[in-house]
């Protein structure tokens, strides 16, 4: 009989006692006095245990039947590893490897292997808490909701709905994410955003504007088919460790060379064949430098370009400027290395191209991402197994949260903010469009094409700029008033730059509401004495729903344990809050609510009804649950189920999963793959940018998915087009009713999509990818120096943009910052990145003792030359100062991992501020074990020209010994 342990669920008071007993983070065991030890008792019993009861409350075992095995998905990154949680009597007692899960085959990284700690949650926020006179006071949920709601309504009355900022989370599951975006819409504001803004917003914008969708085109598993792998600004050995399982398969079985382009010799680079050390911010020169060799030798896939790419000639003209000398001058990488990388990719096709924050977090992030796409287009590596742009997303559901557009510039499904989009969603929500419109501020603060536009249709303030929404002169902001209340819902503050100004902004707010399983740095980094509410949300292990991995697969999570302490699932909190705000009936019109908890499956079904643009319509709860029960039937490489209950489906029904569930589309494992029929997961590039430009057709030329009856490019499908093609009568009468006058995005019957696919056509048209995005500030991607650059010699030739008066409602500076030369006083280039043990702002992972023990100190990586110049030795405390006046006190790690002149900091720490330890400011028992300075206190101003992504990959600093 299996005897397993049970753990106590730690109550609030117990938690406080535990905290007292451990005496704070990082201390070793309570020492037993010698005299106790020396007692000559039976040696064994007295000295037996090695367990410190203060850390882990492991109680006695119980004799039980076999433990329940609950299937769920890790909440730490977008790989989406399967987890099997063993639960006994409601207690999470063990983790077992999910060997038959197609993504990870049981494997985990440090974070995935330690998720059971969520079931202890000793440092969790245990109950609603309010800051009163500088002290944390426990309050009830009702009190909290009432006070918060009252204040929000008051602010709304005085300043309008745009003065409340709804910062959502990449760690919501899909249902919560969708609900949250809807909530912001019901409230009447577009001031809603989440981590994607500061993560892959430039990817989505750049990639979607190149060929239609802005997501990872293939999958982690598809990398098994790659003959070469290039990674730029990506360190998956630390950020997506399990993806290395797939990368190594290609490396070992296909002999795929791995190329890493990074300012640091990362752990990924240690396993690479070619390493190019790039100066931070010089991505475009490197890519164009590689293309220079490719074009010179004629290695490009001209046939592919002719058929499927528009505007490559304009790119050629730009590339011609990037001779090897110029590339070396700007990026620091010599010709032979660029040549080696280019030839490797050219000789080993299909090759895949991977990038992460190293490429995206720049003022020219959208240029970088488009350059990467163009590179793959030039080589013909798109739309093939083993190729593609495999963009590794960050948090576990940042893909889902992005798809549901917890974003200030769009509605779920990337519909945008036009009246037509609102009307579509109004229809899906079964709400009066006029009512929704009435929720928004009636004023107008911007003009578009000479006409006044409503805040309903203008992009809201993004998370990267929320502090300016508070601090900027309200006359300069394109909304009625400043931001007065911030809701940090599952979002840390120390992942955004300009921490010093953020502190001021926090102090200026009327109210801060933090809804999170942990207090986060938001609870402590300011000096407020009132007006801060901490509401305990539970983790994804205490609720259930679907989550979208980076490869667009949707996975179903089951609930492992009941919410700990007084925490509540996000959807329940949304219900309670909106009930107070008076919008609950509309928010939950077709969603059943029982005991204040909305039914997740109803939410899924609701978004299935409306997410036509990206094909979130076929992934019903039933189909997802069935796949969850049959993980093992999906092939490890192709992700296709061969036989079994899910026969023919791809794991996760990767979007676009076209049409209704009845159509049973299997999902699209690799985007733009014309070798398969659309009905079987094939696709082509989307016709999104019109049918022609300057007399040239934008539609695909002679390239089409298998079985496409039109055998050529075609525009996106509408009722009109169906009629023209004579396919209108393929629709059923019911479908015709709904489809009449609509297109593939707005037809709620799904009939247009069904019929298009029936005839082998992709509903969104068949066009060429465009290498020139004429709507962007730089139609052909070019290089521009970062705002804070040490290469003053390059600023004249590669200047940044002009300052803008109003961009996402805010004045945004570029040239006025770059104009000043900081390079003498701040000579070291500063960049930031990740550690494998931690995630994001870090409070959650630094509260897990198994992880926290492995990274106990915040540090900066410094090259020996710079260390010697500063008189700094390995392990010394140093001050790192930024040109914007912030300084942080951290340890120096002297290493050759970074190049001379470049320093690197991990951004997961928080809880110290400019040398001061803020531990005492945390609510008792809820301070993470490990605290440290936040890297972003010292990171500076700089925002992408299309998405307002923050430039956290290249700034300047100076480092001196304490």
């Amino acid at each position: 009989m299996k005897l397993t342990k049970i753990s106590d669920q730690v109550t609030a008071t117990q938690a406080e006692n535990l905290q007292a007993a451990t005496g704070g983070a990082g201390e070793t065991m309570t020492r037993r006095t010698f005299l106790r030890n020396s007692s000559l008792m039976a040696g064994g019993a007295a000295l037996a245990t090695t367990l410190n009861p203060a850390m882990m409350k492991r109680a006695q075992a119980t004799e039980t039947k076999k433990a329940a095995q609950v299937k769920t998905i890790c909440t730490h990154c977008s790989v989406g590893c399967g987890i099997i949680a063993e639960v006994e009597n409601g207690v999470w007692t063990a983790q077992e490897p999910a060997f038959d899960h197609p993504f990870n085959r049981g494997a985990h990284c440090a974070k995935g292997a330690s998720v059971r700690e969520h079931g202890h949650g000793e440092r969790r926020l245990k109950y609603p808490t309010k800051l009163v006179d500088g002290k944390w006071k426990k309050i009830s949920w009702d009190e909290a909701i009432n006070e918060v709601g009252d204040k929000m309504l008051a602010i709304r009355k005085e300043s309008g709905p745009d003065s409340v900022y709804w910062l959502g989370s990449a760690k919501f599951n899909n249902e919560q994410a969708y609900l949250f975006r809807k909530l912001a819409a019901m409230w009447g504001t577009n001031n809603v955003d989440h981590q994607a803004r500061i993560c892959h917003s430039t990817t989505v914008a750049g990639v979607a504007n190149t060929w239609g969708y802005g997501a990872m085109t293939n999958s982690y598993n598809d990398i098994h088919n790659s003959k070469a792998i290039l990674l730029i600004g990506s360190n998956p050995a630390e950020a997506h460790p399990v993806s290395l399982q797939h990368i190594f398969k290609a490396k070992e079985e296909n002999n795929a060379p791995i190329i890493v382009i990074d300012p640091r010799f990362t752990r990924t680079a240690a396993h690479a064949d070619i390493f190019l050390r790039i100066r931070p911010g010089a991505d475009v020169p490197v890519i164009w430098g590689m293309l220079w060799h490719i074009f010179k030798h004629g290695w490009e896939d001209q046939n592919f370009i002719d058929q499927r790419v528009y505007g490559m000639d304009e790119v050629r003209a730009e590339v011609a400027k990037w001779t090897p000398d110029e590339v070396e001058r700007v990026s620091g990488i010599p010709e032979n290395q660029i040549y080696a990388a280019a030839k490797t990719m050219a000789d080993h096709r299909p090759g895949t191209f991977i990038w992460c924050m190293g490429g995206t977090q720049h003022t020219i992030g959208n240029n970088n991402t488009r350059a990467y796409c163009i590179f793959q287009l030039a080589l013909g590596n798109m739309g093939v197994a083993g190729g593609g742009t495999n963009i590794f997303r960050g948090h576990d559901n940042v893909q889902g949260a992005t798809d549901f557009c917890i974003l200030s510039h769009s509605l779920p499904g990337y519909y945008g903010l036009s009246a037509g989009s609102w009307k579509h969603w109004a229809k899906v929500w079964d709400l009066d469009y006029e009512w929704i419109k009435g929720q928004f501020d009636a004023g107008s603060y911007e003009q578009s094409k000479g006409k006044d536009v409503s805040p309903m249709n203008t992009k809201g303030i993004p998370v990267s700029r929320w502090i300016d929404g508070v601090l900027e002169d309200k006359g300069n902001i394109a909304q009625k008033d400043n931001l007065r209340a911030m809701v940090f819902w599952g979002h840390a503050p120390n992942s955004q730059t300009r921490g010093k100004e953020m502190k001021t902004a926090m102090e200026k707010l009327d109210m801060m509401v933090i809804i999170d399983p942990y207090p986060t740095v938001s609870a402590v980094m300011h000096d407020r004495t009132d007006g801060v509410y901490l509401l305990p949300a539970c983790t994804q292990f205490e609720t259930y729903g679907s989550v979208t991995a980076s490869n667009r697969s949707l996975q179903w999570r089951d609930k492992v344990i009941e919410p700990l302490f007084e925490s509540l699932p996000d959807q329940t909190i949304m219900y309670k809050l909106t009930k107070k705000l008076g919008i609950v009936d509309n928010l939950f019109k077709h969603i059943k609510v029982e005991n204040d908890e909305p039914l997740i499956e109803d939410i899924t079904r609701e978004f299935n009804k409306g997410m036509w643009t990206i094909g979130y319509t076929g992934q019903t709860p039933e189909r997802m649950k069935k796949q969850q029960q049959n993980w093992g039937t999906f092939d490890y490489t192709s992700l296709e189920a061969e036989g079994g209950p899910c026969d023919g489906e791809y794991y996760g029904l990767p979007w676009p999963c076209w049409g209704t569930a009845e159509m049973a589309h299997p999902g699209t494992p690799n985007l733009y793959d014309t070798s398969k029929a659309v009905a079987k997961g094939g696709l082509n590039f989307r016709a999104r940018f019109g049918v022609e430009r300057n007399g040239e057709s934008l539609l695909a030329s002679g390239s089409y998915p298998l079985g496409n009856e039109l055998k050529d490019g075609h525009p996106e499908f509408s009722a009109d087009l169906l009629q023209k093609l004579g396919w209108w009568d393929d629709l059923t009468p019911e479908e015709k009713t709904l489809a009449d006058g609509k297109n593939w995005k707005t037809d709620l019957s799904g009939g247009i999509q069904r019929v298009a696919i029936k005839h082998g056509c992709a509903p969104f048209g068949n066009a060429k990818a465009r290498a020139v995005v004429w709507t962007f500030p730089d139609p052909v991607p070019i290089h521009r120096e970062p705002l804070y650059t040490s290469r003053r010699d390059l600023v004249e030739k590669y200047p940044t943009y002009e300052d803008r008066k109003s961009f996402y409602r805010l004045p945004t500076r570029y040239a006025s910052i770059q104009a000043k030369d900081y390079s003498k006083d701040f000579p070291i280039i500063l960049t930031t990145g990740r550690l494998v043990e931690y995630e994001g702002g870090g409070d959650e992972t630094r509260s897990n003792p198994w992880l926290a023990e492995l990274q106990q100190d915040m540090f900066v990586e410094l090259h020996p030359r710079d260390a010697n110049n500063a008189g700094v030795k390995d392990g010394d405390d140093v001050w790192l100062e930024s040109p914007e006046g912030a300084r942080i006190r951290i340890k120096a790690q002297v290493t050759r991992r970074v190049g001379s002149g470049v320093a690197f900091m991990p951004f997961h720490f928080g809880g110290h501020f400019e040398g001061k330890d803020l531990r005492s400011k945390y609510p008792p028992g809820a301070d993470p074990y490990v605290l440290g300075e936040a890297a972003n206190t010292a990171m500076t101003y700089g925002y992408d020209s299309v998405t307002q992504m923050q430039e956290s990959k290249c700034s300047l600093c100076r480092i001196s010994k304490v």
Binding site: F34, S38, L40, A42, G43, G44, L47, E837
Partner: protein
């Protein structure tokens, strides 16, 4: 020289015991596991990362590692010294120490049976000289007790597994060994204290003087001639003192290092300390066996000095004649007074300051 049958039997019994002991720990030391040939893929890897197995040029450059796991030497892949230390303890210290200690015991037994007890030449007199004050005796016995306690507890830790565990069984022996370890650690620093006190009190009288070498060359009177003059302490005693201070000092210092593994000293330092500690302890124990023998059964009249504080005048003339003469000259000789029940009197009742 008296050889008596009872004694011979005792000697043989002792020999027998030792003979049994030898194989017991020798067998254990030889280790009972036969090497198993297993296709272990790790051996190649570990050979590759083992600096000792790389050519010298590469070994010198062998990069030291690091680990996210914090701890002393957590970045060290292979602890080479551990192998040497194991070899030292199991294959060198155990047998050699065993032979030495057993040999010393055998030697004193043989000496006792062959040479017999060293008697006072003229027999006991009725006079006594004050030899050691209360304080001096306290220090000695304090040191003796500590030393023996530490010695025995240490020996249990060293030889217990071979000699005691087989018949005590693991649970009981574990209790004993645990107690030995805890006691050894608790009283360890006291040994250092005892050394310091002993040094301060006795160092003056232990400085080597003229005549000490002669004493040595003449065998100290214990072998052969009797007429070997000496001061308060003879050369043998002085040597014992210095051995105690120096070798004992090494024991104490290495012991302190072992006692406090909290200063981030690595295994190398701990192993070295253990080696020094063990060798020094075995040496001291071996020597002390002789000291205890000669101070108790080996010599008539030797014990009284350290118990009652007074020694017999004739004994003093036999063994420390120069000192005895000085005491006579200074009038420090006292009559022995027998009390009614035969006890010697309380020295405190007689004034110590110049009873003329």
């Amino acid at each position: 020289m008296l050889i008596n049958h009872r004694r011979v039997l005792q000697l043989l019994a002792a020999l027998l015991l030792l003979l049994i002991a030898f194989p017991a720990f020798a067998e254990d030391v030889a280790s009972s596991h036969k090497p198993v040939t297993v296709p272990n893929p790790a051996t190649d890897l570990w050979r590759a990362v083992n600096p000792q197995q790389l050519p010298p040029a590469q070994a010198a450059m062998f990069p030291r590692g690091g680990s996210q796991v914090q701890g002393v030497q957590s970045g060290v892949l292979i602890n080479q010294q551990g192998q040497s230390w194991r070899h030292f303890r199991m294959k060198q210290l155990l047998p050699t120490g065993g032979y030495l200690l057993a040999g010393a015991m055998l030697a004193v037994l043989l000496f006792y049976f062959i040479r017999g007890k060293v008697l006072i030449r003229d027999g006991e007199s009725d006079k006594k000289i004050e030899r050691y004050s209360v304080y001096e005796r306290m220090i000695h016995w304090f040191m003796a007790f500590i030393f023996l306690f530490l010695g025995f507890s240490g020996l249990i830790l060293l030889f217990g597994r071979s000699l005691l565990l087989p018949w005590m069984g693991p649970e009981l022996f574990s209790i004993l060994a645990s107690a030995a370890k805890e006691g050894h650690n608790l009283f360890g620093p006291l040994f250092l204290l005892a050394l310091v006190l002993m040094f301060l009190k006795f160092v003056i009288r232990n400085i080597y003087q003229k005549g000490d070498l002669t004493w040595l060359l003449k065998g100290g009177g214990i072998i052969g001639e009797h007429d070997v003059p000496s001061n308060f302490f003879n050369m043998g005693e002085k040597t014992l003192f210095w051995l105690l201070i120096i070798v004992g000092g090494l024991i104490a210092i290495s012991g302190v290092v072992l006692l406090f593994p909290v200063f981030e000293q690595g295994r190398g330092i701990m192993e070295l300390s253990h080696v020094v500690h063990a060798i020094a302890a075995v040496i001291m124990l071996t020597v002390i066996i002789g000291h205890i023998y000669i101070g108790t059964i080996g010599m008539q009249g030797a014990t009284e000095g350290m118990t009652s504080g007074y020694c017999d005048l004739n004994w003093a003339k036999d063994h420390h004649s120069w000192w005895a003469q000085r005491c006579i000259d200074e009038g420090k000789v006292l009559p022995k007074q027998q009390s009614v029940d035969g006890h010697t009197d309380n020295p405190d009742s007689a004034s110590r300051e110049g009873v003329q």
